[in-house]
């Protein structure tokens, strides 16, 4: 079923693989821009808002508070469980090319002052396929989160199970999902952020098990490879098939969030899941956030709805189009809860309220 998946994801998205050093050609809108410009725009296509792939190092840099990331299991390396010919060499070459030991980096950090455990998969390393090391590091992240009662945030990206480890890699799906189930039983928050591309065995295991599932705009998320399906139905599939927006429409992600607002969104969600503090006034002191170390942070509390600030962050044509889904979903809840919004502004509205300010395009897009 994973047939062609690797081929598909590498050819279809070749743009950002090759041009990291010179020029970025967007695989969605085919427009080009300089690598510097792309980086300044947080690796988001300035034309269409496609959220391009990032390496784990950059992702950690834009997500964690500066200097807070402490890596777990840094030196864990894969063995060759089924004695697959040439596997060690392949791994060695990937390590040299990417500077990573494996396809996932896990560790502990704070985000806007909120302590959490974080895992970032890096598609530049063998398409972030899941073998023994990815499975073990992710499982340990779940177990540590349960033990330390810290929220777990996983940024997923993967071509699926790693062929070169055969059945052993398939079993990592059961292992990680079992660990996710245990974390859930422990009552600890688990957030997944689906990034480009999340497919195959990772979609069919821990990526789909978050308490809250967020996706970045226009990323590819699916189970089976596009070509496999096209082969089965003997038809071309529409462009947006298996996109984040497609998943939102079909009910498999909670919302789509832009990269620019990701840090803040995650921090807010973590705060919303803090156990209530007893005997405090209705304006809960738990919201007194320590955003100090963040570069982009502007002091704010969720109660004063930071609509205008969010807007600043979200300027650029990308925001409007790619947030269509989110704007739409907010729009619905918005109109439903309009009456009580004025007297008690909910925290959740504070986060997403920004998009209300530009409902025109969003609503039009989805309608």
């Amino acid at each position: 079923m994973l047939e062609d998946l690797f081929k598909m994801v590498t050819t279809r998205f070749n743009g950002d693989e090759k041009n990291e050093t010179k020029e970025f050609r967007c695989p969605r809108c085919q427009n080009s821009c300089g690598a510097d410009e792309l980086q300044k725009n947080m690796w988001v296509c300035p034309e269409c808002g496609y959220h391009a792939r990032m390496n784990a190092r950059d992702r950690i840099a834009i997500t964690c508070d500066k200097g807070t990331f402490k890596e777990y299991d840094k030196d864990m390396q894969t063995a060759n469980p089924i004695d697959f010919p040439g596997y060690e060499e392949k791994i060695g070459a990937m390590q040299e090319k990417t500077g990573l030991t494996e396809a996932v980096v896990t560790g502990e950090c704070t985000i806007h002052g909120e302590p959490c455990i974080i895992g970032v998969m890096d598609s530049h390393f063998m398409m972030a396929s899941m073998g023994s090391v990815v499975g073990e590091k992710i499982t340990r992240a779940f177990e540590r989160a349960a033990e330390k009662k810290l929220p777990l945030i996983l940024f997923t990206a993967s071509g699926g199970a790693r062929m070169q480890e055969g059945l052993v890699s398939l079993m990592q799906m059961a292992k990680t999902s079992g660990a996710a189930a245990r974390l859930s039983e422990a009552g600890v928050l688990y957030i997944t952020v689906l990034t480009d591309p999340t497919t195959g065995g990772v979609t069919a295991s821990f990526a789909s098990l978050g308490d809250i599932i967020i996706a970045e705009p226009k990323v590819l998320v699916g189970f089976a490879g596009r070509r496999v399906i096209e082969g089965t139905i003997k038809q071309r599939l529409p462009e947006d098939f298996q996109s984040a927006e497609f998943l939102l429409e079909n009910g498999f992600v909670d919302f789509i969030c832009e990269r620019k607002s990701m840090r803040r969104t995650i921090a807010h969600l973590i705060r919303l899941h803090r156990p209530p503090v007893k005997s405090s006034a209705e304006t809960s002191p738990t919201e007194k956030s320590s955003d100090t170390s963040s570069s982009e942070s502007t002091s704010k509390t969720p109660k004063e709805r930071p609509a205008s600030k969010e807007n600043d962050d979200n300027t650029g044509s990308s925001g409007n189009a790619s947030n269509a889904g989110n704007a739409n979903s907010v729009g619905k809840s918005d109109s439903a809860g309009k009456s009580d919004r004025s007297d008690k502004p909910g925290k959740s509205e504070g986060i997403f309220g920004a998009h209300k300010n530009k409902p025109g395009k969003g609503a039009g897009k989805n309608g």
């Binding site: 199970a161 799906m173 245990r182 069919a204 295991s205 599939l237 498999f252």
Partner: protein
Amino acid sequence: MAENMSGAANVSQEREITPFERLMIVRNKNRPTIRDYIPLIFTDFFELHGDRFYGDDGAILGGIGRLEGTPVTIIAEVKGRDIYENKASNFAMPHPEGYRKALRLAHQAEKFHRPVICFIDTPGAFCGVEAEKRGQGEAIARSLAEFMTLKTPVISLVLGEGGSGGALALGVCDELAMLENASYSVISPRGFASILWKDPSREEEACGIMRITSHDALSLGICEEIIPEPEGGAHNDPETTAENIAEFLVKTLNKKMAKDIDVLLNERYNKFRKIGEFME
């Protein structure tokens, strides 16, 4: 694939049969399916349908029956014996509603303290537009997570092909057995050859290196027992094969049902937790 098969003492060491030949035995048109085995292994079988959300998937059969008098829940992937059966069962390739039906019945079993017996026999979960729309990935993921914490014994058995996540969705269990010629793999050998060598016709070669046989799964610590098949394959003597399966199930169920549920759940978690090879 001359592997050291320590622990497989009860299986005759038929070196001549290659993994590819075993795959051909498994794909034999006359190989018994779950519908052949049920009347030979269970009594009082009632089939139960539907996932209560979307529909009833013919690729997964579920129901309640008795194994030597003990009520058990049976969940199985269904290969067809002819084109009509195969049409109804989508060639044993489940849609999300199939996995959701399986999970519904598993939770029902948990409620009534019935053990669950899963029979795996699929080339893989179905790949199609509707399957994606209804969340194939989510359905499998949910299965994996919830079987892991299901508070009743779960035994799985690979009857024929155990293809990828579609097989694993019924494979999170306390003990896994495989029929001798059955295979269990991360992807079909054809898909494997297609991805790694861009040449699906090198299927036989892929079988040679993928380690997909029951003996491989045993030596990798993924399956606990190999159930012998009559010479030439199960189709040559379905009754004897069914007896062998029943014998394994009774023995294993007695063992698992005697355990405290917390112990059982810990052992189940650790059975998968320990799989993987790495260096630190």
